[in-house]
Symmetry: C2
Subunit: 270 residues, 2 copies
């Protein structure tokens, strides 16, 4: 290994920092994956990692060198950097000494397998990276077949999505497309569209989720657009007996997803 | 009204900034409530507001002056401040021109009404203000009887709790106590304790939540302590058919709370 990169103003460090900007990610087809857990999931999923920055002084555990070796063995360039340079490249308060530049992977609708009895989450126009990341993590936990990001406002390759997802961006099948294309695709595949909206005439738990189904959630500020409300097979509301009349968008997604888990478990046992 | 406070280094502004520190909140018995929605809920709930800082240049809507007048009418000191001074006092990226110093309210266990069929959320050792705030918001939406914060790590009067709760810190009854005291109190009141833990032998949806029940959630990092696992009437797991084996703590709370909403609606209709 060559000498560590010492300077926070090294061009390689600056190139990583630039990937915080979506325009740079779009122009280069690259994005940043930081952290042991996230990189483990990326590596397991076969994500192509171009460059790995390592800073052994910042390692929290004992497994980091083995992960770095595993990634190096796939032909990835590994650069050792100083703590000062690593902190500059990192977008975390407490960096863990592992940060990679990875190639953006394909996100076509064909990434989502529609065999069996699909359980999909469709998120329209989500604005906050933290919410999209939490949706991915929760969809993975629920065993969802995939997550479809329709008309995204936030970029799924935003570093805060990777982070909030805990790396499930790499484990749960992900597709990105316009709402019109998603609707046509799911209809042609026989997937029922359940749209979550405060105006839904039926409680979410009264809707059947045991067949092929897509749970559709709208943006934080505006909810679902008319396109989805018109396309939906059924509009459902999460009943809120309390004083507030809204939930965080990721929370709403989680409540719907785990209602599907419940219904499917009940159906399997009956 | 006297001349506006122009300088960000004015002692009154500095006193507000100091309330970001828990030690200052504990010493003064004061905390900060910022934002139109949050202050509306605080005012509706009868929270004693000592000082209101207003900056009309930053108002986003048209209702702010009426709210300021309503708060002034209760005897609150209202100070007009410059945008520069307001931005210094604010902990938000986009301040809305309304920020108050309020008196901490009582948070004894007697604040939680245990009549009827209580549905309680107990959160043990929660570390992140955003999670505690989201739990409050979600508990309110679910119509929970109250939220009990056991052995808090994060201070419920942290400004980020107020913010993430959207002001439901003032609408849902809140109590703070040690785990031992909470357990004794709830047992004496005939409330069943359902502890959420990955080791739970029963799925959460297989546990009865239609009677008086407390849903108990542990900290983000460590889950529930042995004290709660031993005291619980039933340990339940949220089944996760996917690849990750954990949910965000607030998400887990929301999934349990809305399962209780579902069961209670079903019981009411049967």
């Amino acid at each position: 290994m060559t000498d560590p990169i010492a300077s926070p103003t090294n061009p390689r460090i600056k190139a990583v920092v630039r990937l915080r900007d979506r325009t740079e990610r779009d122009a280069t087809g690259r994005f940043v994956v930081e952290g042991y857990r996230e990189l483990t999931r990326a590596s397991d999923a076969g994500i192509r990692i171009e460059t790995l920055l390592v800073c052994p002084d910042l390692y929290l555990g004992e497994n980091e060198p083995a992960l770095a070796d595993r990634i190096r063995a796939t032909g990835t360039e590994v650069l050792e950097v100083s703590a000062a340079a690593f902190r500059k490249a990192s977008y975390r308060d407490r960096p863990e000494g592992l940060l990679a530049v990875a190639e953006r992977f394909a996100t076509g609708l064909d990434r989502i397998p529609l065999t069996g009895i699909p359980l999909l989450l469709v998120a329209e126009g989500i604005e906050k990276p933290g919410n999209l990341g939490t949706m991915l993590r929760t969809a993975d936990a629920a065993g969802a077949t995939g997550v479809i990001v329709a008309d995204p406002t936030t970029d799924p390759f935003n570093p805060n999505v990777v982070r909030a997802s805990l790396g499930t961006l790499f484990t749960v099948p992900l597709a990105i497309a316009s709402s019109a294309v998603v609707i046509t695709h799911l209809r042609a595949s026989g997937v029922r569209l359940l749209a979550a909206t405060p105006a839904g005439p039926v409680a979410h738990f009264a809707a059947d989720m045991t067949g092929p189904v897509a749970l559709v959630i709208g943006s934080e500020q505006y909810g679902l657009t008319a396109v989805w409300l018109e396309a939906a097979d059924q509009a459902v509301v999460i009943p809120m007996p309390g004083s507030v009349d809204s939930l965080n968008a990721a929370m709403a997604a989680g409540i719907l997803l785990f209602e599907a888990v419940r219904q499917r478990a009940a159906a399997a046992h009956s």
